[in-house]
Symmetry: C2
Subunit: 214 residues, 2 copies
């Protein structure tokens, strides 16, 4: 067993949350989930703690854990921190090894292939990979894991998106452009573009959220 039981259960729950099987706001009953996944309450609670650390769920005393509901303020906040981490990556691009640059280009290609196939869900995943690769240019394990957590949170907001295509399509070309700027060493321009890019993306998500709740 390479993974502990709690880690295994946490991974399963994470998948169920990200797939929408366990929707935002849903309460995770200890008794029900313990029965479904065939683990004791103690182990399940340990799994919950792992998810809490990823802030995929929130814990309310004596009330249990709930799948996180993303408020507009959360989206704004997440994009602020993303901007900080991805900017750090872009600024360190000059000192990053070739493998990390190649990884950035690879994610753009991945997104373009998925778009050509009409797999807009996959385009979304590739887009997240692209931004993770940008932050990875900073060569910092702590930045990497912080990015992973942020993007996992953000995935919760995507559930409210009506049309993945309408959201992701405009960014395909911008991702490619950004990757090209990094390749050619136009770091200052890349940094400026990244800022407006993230501002635009944030506004699109906030707009969609407002629509969904109206």
């Amino acid at each position: 067993m390479a993974l502990s039981t709690a880690q295994r259960v946490a991974a399963a729950l994470r998948a169920r949350i990200e797939s929408g099987d366990l929707p935002p706001g849903h309460r995770l009953s200890e008794e029900a989930l313990g029965r479904e996944h065939e683990v004791s309450r103690n182990t399940l609670r340990e799994a919950f703690r792992l998810l809490i650390h990823d802030s995929l769920v929130v814990h309310l005393l004596n009330r249990g854990v709930f799948v996180r509901v993303l408020e507009p303020a959360d989206v704004t906040d997440i994009y602020r921190m993303r901007a900080a981490l991805e900017t750090a990556g872009v600024r360190a691009a000059a000192h990053a090894p070739r493998t990390l640059h190649d990884a950035v280009s690879a994610t753009v290609t991945e997104a373009e292939r998925a778009a050509a196939a009409g797999e807009w869900q996959q385009v979304g995943s590739a887009d997240l990979h692209f931004h993770r690769a940008l932050a990875a240019l900073a060569q910092s394990p702590r930045i990497d894991s912080a990015m992973d957590r942020l993007l996992a949170e953000l995935r919760l907001a995507f559930h409210e998106m009506p049309s993945p295509r309408r959201f992701h399509e405009p960014f395909l070309a911008r991702n490619r452009a950004l990757a090209k700027m990094l390749e050619s060493g136009e770091h200052a321009r890349a940094e400026a573009e990244l800022t407006t890019y993230l501002d635009d993306a944030r506004e699109l998500i906030l707009g969609a959220m407002k629509e969904a709740h109206a």
Copy 2:
């Protein structure tokens, strides 16, 4: 019951770690500590989880929990992420409300007062507060809590510092200068100074660590 047994034990362990009674790298035996603190292993494990969240200890599957030991690579990494977050704060300084700017100045004054009193331990705390205040200019709760965790980790490295005064004294004036640049709107200059500032601080810590291990 205001505090659970686990919280009480966690506080006791935290004190023992910070006092050096439980040195970095030391394994926290469930059986031994359970006997000493007169709690069951399960309760002790709950206490461990609280310490893990503060990253005061690390958990290795089937091997137990160990008092965290900071490697030079960790210090380098922490400073990379600090640079990303504090730079984000400085760049957002123009849009930050007055109260946040006042908070920055207040921490500088706090440090100067402690230095005048010869309380170099307090100067160290004030310095951490200063950097937290810088990051806070970004107005992002997630950045704030990430900074808190980074600074808590860094505190472990301070244990290896032979002379708090020699480390902190040179930065008193630089903190004041940085605060002044922000007040007067010299954002670009503040950003540049912050970068070299953090590089210098990192090298000082790395040097002290190398000395301690030699």
